[in-house]
Structure formats: structure tokens, C-alpha cells
């Protein structure tokens, strides 16, 4: 399972890609596969504040419910409407069209503390 190198990861199987001071957040392919078909996504409103580690949303599959944690602190500037209406995007393109929220990050340097692709690949058992 390929892990893109252009972003950072959390142990909660989320990815973060920084562009300027805006971080795009989604769940990894590994997480999407574990969940099974995603059928409902509950995302925070634009304008809301997200504190690192807090629960800001939910991802439901037919079999289970996952919580979306804010991987960074900042203001939610956008939630992915396409995913709200087509939750299957999380499965079909978790690193692309299936992104979940964009956050204006208070301290972009904090992202350096997250896992890089190599560390995340090791976490999920590398290539399984």
C-alpha cells in the first residue's frame, strides 16, 4: 500500500498536507480499508476552531464508526462538501478527492513533529 511522501501522518491514521499555512486533512488508505465502505461523514463547519487531538468529526462505515481527530490546532476553513454527499470518495481516493477538512494552522512548524511517510509505513506494517 503506497504511502505518499508529500505529507505527514498521525498514529490515528490521518494524513496532513501543508500548503502555506493551510493544512488539508484526510484519513489514510489503510484506515479507509479497515473501516470498509464509508457511508456517512460528519464534518465540522467552516469557521469552527479545531484543537489538536480533539474530536472534530465522525466517519461511519456500514460496520463501524471512526472519530476524526484534529491533527493540528487552527481554524477550520473548509469541509469537503463532495465527501459529505459522496462518502465513497474516502474509499476510492483517500489521499485525493476524499480529503475531509482544511485547517488554517496556528503553528505550521508543529507538523514537523508528525510522522513522515517512512515512519507511517512502518507503523502499518509496511506494504501490507
Amino acid at each position: 500500500m503506497a504511502v505518499p511522501v508529500d505529507r505527514r501522518y498521525t498514529a490515528e491514521h490521518e494524513w496532513v498536507r501543508l500548503d502555506g499555512d493551510t493544512a488539508t486533512v484526510g484519513i489514510t488508505e489503510y484506515a479507509a480499508e479497515k473501516l470498509g465502505d464509508v457511508v456517512f461523514v460528519d464534518l465540522p463547519q467552516a469557521g469552527s476552531e479545531a484543537a489538536e487531538g480533539s474530536v472534530v468529526g465522525e466517519i461511519e462505515s456500514t460496520k463501524s464508526v471512526g472519530e476524526l481527530f484534529a491533527p493540528v490546532t487552527g481554524e477550520v476553513v473548509e469541509a469537503n462538501d463532495a465527501v459529505a454527499s459522496s462518502p465513497e470518495l474516502v474509499n476510492s481516493d483517500p489521499y485525493g478527492e476524499g480529503w475531509l477538512i482544511r485547517v488554517r494552522v496556528a503553528e505550521p512548524a508543529r507538523l514537523e513533529e508528525l510522522l513522515d511517510a517512512t515512519a507511517y509505513a512502518a507503523l502499518i506494517g509496511d506494504g501490507e
Binding site: 490515528e12 491514521h13 490521518e14 484519513i27 489514510t28 484506515a31 480499508e33 479497515k34 473501516l35 470498509g36 465502505d37 457511508v39 456517512f40 460528519d42 465522525e58 466517519i59 461511519e60 462505515s61 456500514t62 460496520k63 463501524s64 464508526v65 471512526g66 472519530e67 476524526l68 481527530f69 465513497e88 474509499n91 506494517g125 501490507e128
Partner: protein, 432 residues
């Protein structure tokens, strides 16, 4: 992202789990696996929604080799089962099957079963994987005073189910599938070819077939709410039969289907799952299975006196619940009464209530300040129905709130979501 329910799929085989004879085929097909009653079984191959839809619209192929198969054999096999189980199994004709229950002395359910009469003196009892030993032990003990012996043949029998509207035509075209010419075959099948025999096989009937000249029991049974067949075959022949079915059915849309889709399919069909709707502390009447208990049969059977005493008047009963929106009520969630003056009957949801009770949908959380915090029930199974598009659930609720049309709230992770009691099943196929 951390699922609050345990991650249920693991990509790699577990060392200690029991393996189906079809395990290699599942790995080759890219299945994700789950541990189910100590077995490593496919939870999905690629998409559980696609597998669910395939069964509703074409056909799906399930590996159920983890299920328990227990044979009761002897001149008093029928009497032994009449004593051991809730139903009147002596009334089964050769080739007939019946859904039944194994009860304890208190009338609680130890397992739900399908029982096939496969010979004048022979029955096949199919048990849930988790209850295989319980069922084998109970039948052995309860048959002890009868001229009947009990054999746990689970390790020698694989089970493949083909389910869906195109299951028949696919099975009819599987090469090397035939009818056994033997004493235990019902007479009217002997002279017919397999295609006709399969077409004429009635629901909950079985016939003795052959695959590669070895015996296979072909039953028109299932757990999906669709037409379909279950094939009891030797573990040695199972991989070839599995491949032959997939090859034959590919053009008709047959795909392998995992346990995740099996669960949503049975839920839509309103069928109980042991460990969820049925437990040792559930009486059959609470689960809507009073009809399965043959109180009119002569002689004693285990659980009879408790069943005759009946459940307490306030014992919770199983109901179907339907909601609007997309949020599923899941096993373990609390069910609450809707306060009469709670003001939550102002429809504010994006979809009308699918239930019979009229517009019950409030905005999420509208009921949160209502009424008492004492739950009136609990969800035992629930999902967003892939076929219907709205949430469905099975729940045990106080009998006063069990009538179809009753408005209830389910506490979904801190938010009360409106649901309505609806008649079961949620989904039933169109029959021609």
C-alpha cells in the same frame, strides 16, 4: 481517525485462527479477514456495499465453512430432537428443513439452528460457529436416553452459499453438479436432471446431489432475504466447487461476498443474529419466535415448563426501528421514549420518516432535553440500510412502546436521533 468499534479487518492471517478450506482462494481474491468465533473468515473482498448489492440484484457467494454441522443418527433420531429442540422435528419430511431453537431449562436460547432431515433416521443440525460445542454437547446429553447418536461433523463439512435472484440459473450451469442416485433421494427427483430438480426445489427443502461424483447436500436456504442455495460439501471438494461457481456465475454478476455484507443483508431481512438478538437470557416469545416453539407436540422438551410459564409481562420485546438521515443506531445504543410534549414532532430532517408513523423526524438532538433519562430499550443490531438508504435497527424495547408507529429516540453518541417502530422485515424481495 480511530474507530470506536474495534477494527474488524486484518490484512494478514492470524497464527492461531482456524482456517477455512477456502482460505487460499480468499487470499488470492484479496479478501480482508475478520476473526469470527475463532475462525479467520473474509469480512469483505473489496467493497461490502458492492457485495450487498450483488446479492440483491444478481448473486453473491459466501464461505460459511465456520458453521457447525452436527448429525443425529439412529432409529429414535426424530424423538431425540423433539426432546432436545423447541420444534417438532419428527414432523419433517425427508428433504425438508426447519428453523429451530436449542433452549435451556429456563427457556433461554442457547442457539438458533437449521435442521435438515436427510434420511429416515438421519438429521443434520446446522449451528452457529460460536455455539458448535454447546450444541454438540447439549444434543449428545439430551439424546443419551434415545436410540440415537450425535456426531459433530463440522470439520468434515464445508459450506458454500450462493444467494441472489440469479443464484438458480448459475447453479444450474455448474459443471459436474448432479443428483445422487441413492436410497435417500426423494423418488420424484430420481429421474429428473439437475437443472429441473434445482428449479423445482422448494424453499427450505434439500436434495442429495453430487459434485465430482462426491455427495453434496443442496438446500434452498439462506440468510440474506433472497432466493438462494446452501451447498454442504467435503472440504476437499470445496475449493473446486467455489471456483466453478465463480467461473459459471461471472457473466451473471456473481461475486464473492464477505461477512460484512452477510450481516447487512440479514438485518434488512429482519433475521436475528445469535449473540445480538438471541442470547441465553432471551425467551423465544421476546424475539418474536414464539411460533418456533411447538408447545402442542407430545412429550417433554427442554425449556417447555419455562416457556409455558411465559415471559414476564414487562419483558422487553424485539422490534424493528427505522430512522431518517444517515446516522446508524448501533448495537448497545440506548433507546429512549419520545416525550409527548417535547416539541420534537416538527419535521426538520432531510428525509421523511420511512416508518408507518408519519412525520417523526426532528432535527438531531431535538429530543435531547426530553423526558426521562432511563432507557426504554437497547439496540442489538443496526446499520444504514444499503438497499433502503435510511438507518434500520433491531432493538429490545418495553412492550408498551413496541407497537408499529411508536416514535422513539436512539442515543447516538450523545445525540438523540428520532426513530419509528416499523414492521419486520425491513426488506422483502419481490416474489414471482
Amino acid at each position: 481517525m480511530v474507530p470506536s468499534a474495534p477494527l474488524d479487518a486484518s490484512p494478514a492471517p492470524k497464527g492461531s485462527a482456524r482456517l477455512s478450506p477456502l482460505n487460499d482462494a480468499h487470499i488470492a481474491a484479496g479478501a480482508s479477514f475478520t476473526d469470527f468465533a475463532g475462525w479467520q473468515m473474509p469480512v469483505r473482498y473489496s467493497s461490502d456495499l458492492a457485495e450487498h448489492r450483488a446479492v440483491r440484484t444478481a448473486a453473491g457467494l459466501f464461505d460459511l465453512s465456520h458453521m457447525g454441522e452436527i448429525v443425529v443418527l439412529g432409529p429414535q433420531a426424530a424423538e431425540a430432537l423433539d426432546h432436545a429442540l423447541a420444534g417438532r422435528l419428527s414432523a419433517l419430511e425427508l428433504g425438508q428443513a426447519k428453523y429451530s431453537l436449542l433452549l435451556n431449562d429456563a427457556g433461554g436460547i442457547l442457539d438458533d439452528l437449521v435442521v435438515y432431515r436427510t434420511g429416515a433416521d438421519r438429521y443434520l443440525v446446522v449451528a452457529n460457529a460460536a455455539n458448535r460445542q454447546t450444541v454438540a454437547d447439549a444434543l449428545t446429553q439430551r439424546a443419551a436416553s434415545f436410540e440415537a447418536d450425535v456426531y459433530d461433523e463440522s470439520d468434515d463439512i464445508a459450506l458454500i452459499a450462493i444467494q441472489g435472484p440469479r443464484a438458480l440459473e448459475i447453479l444450474q450451469n455448474v459443471p459436474e453438479l448432479g443428483i445422487e442416485a441413492g436410497a435417500d433421494v426423494p423418488e420424484d427427483f430420481e429421474e429428473k436432471d439437475i437443472e429441473q430438480a434445482l428449479a423445482e426445489l422448494k424453499y427450505y427443502r434439500s436434495l442429495s446431489g453430487t459434485y465430482l461424483d462426491h455427495p453434496v447436500l443442496i438446500a434452498r436456504t439462506g440468510y440474506t432475504g433472497e432466493d438462494g442455495f446452501e451447498l454442504y460439501v467435503s472440504p476437499d471438494d470445496a475449493p473446486a466447487l467455489w471456483s466453478a461457481l465463480l467461473e459459471t456465475g461471472a457473466g451473471a454478476g456473481l461475486i464473492p461476498a464477505g461477512l460484512a455484507s452477510r450481516d447487512t443483508l440479514r438485518l434488512e431481512a429482519g433475521m436475528p443474529l445469535y449473540g445480538h438478538e438471541l442470547t441465553t437470557s432471551t425467551l423465544p416469545s421476546q424475539a418474536g419466535l414464539g411460533r418456533v416453539v411447538a408447545l402442542s407436540k407430545p412429550g417433554d422438551f427442554v425449556g417447555r415448563s419455562a416457556i409455558e410459564r411465559g415471559a414476564p409481562e414487562d419483558a422487553r420485546v424485539l422490534v424493528g426501528l427505522a430512522g431518517s438521515g444517515k446516522r446508524a443506531a448501533r448495537a448497545g445504543y440506548a433507546v429512549h421514549a419520545r416525550a409527548a410534549d417535547g416539541g420534537s414532532d416538527a419535521g426538520a430532517s432531510d428525509a421523511g420518516s420511512p416508518g408507518a408513523g408519519g412525520p417523526e423526524a426532528g432535527s438531531p438532538g431535538a429530543g435531547a432535553s426530553d423526558g426521562s433519562n432511563t432507557p426504554v430499550g437497547e439496540i442489538t443490531s443496526g446499520a444504514l440500510s444499503p438497499t433502503l438508504g435510511h438507518p434500520i435497527a433491531l432493538a429490545y424495547v418495553d412492550p408498551a412502546l413496541a407497537a408499529v408507529g411508536t416514535a422513539l429516540d436512539v442515543e447516538v453518541r450523545g445525540t438523540r436521533i428520532p426513530f419509528t417502530v416499523v414492521a419486520l422485515p425491513f426488506y422483502s424481495r419481490k416474489k414471482n
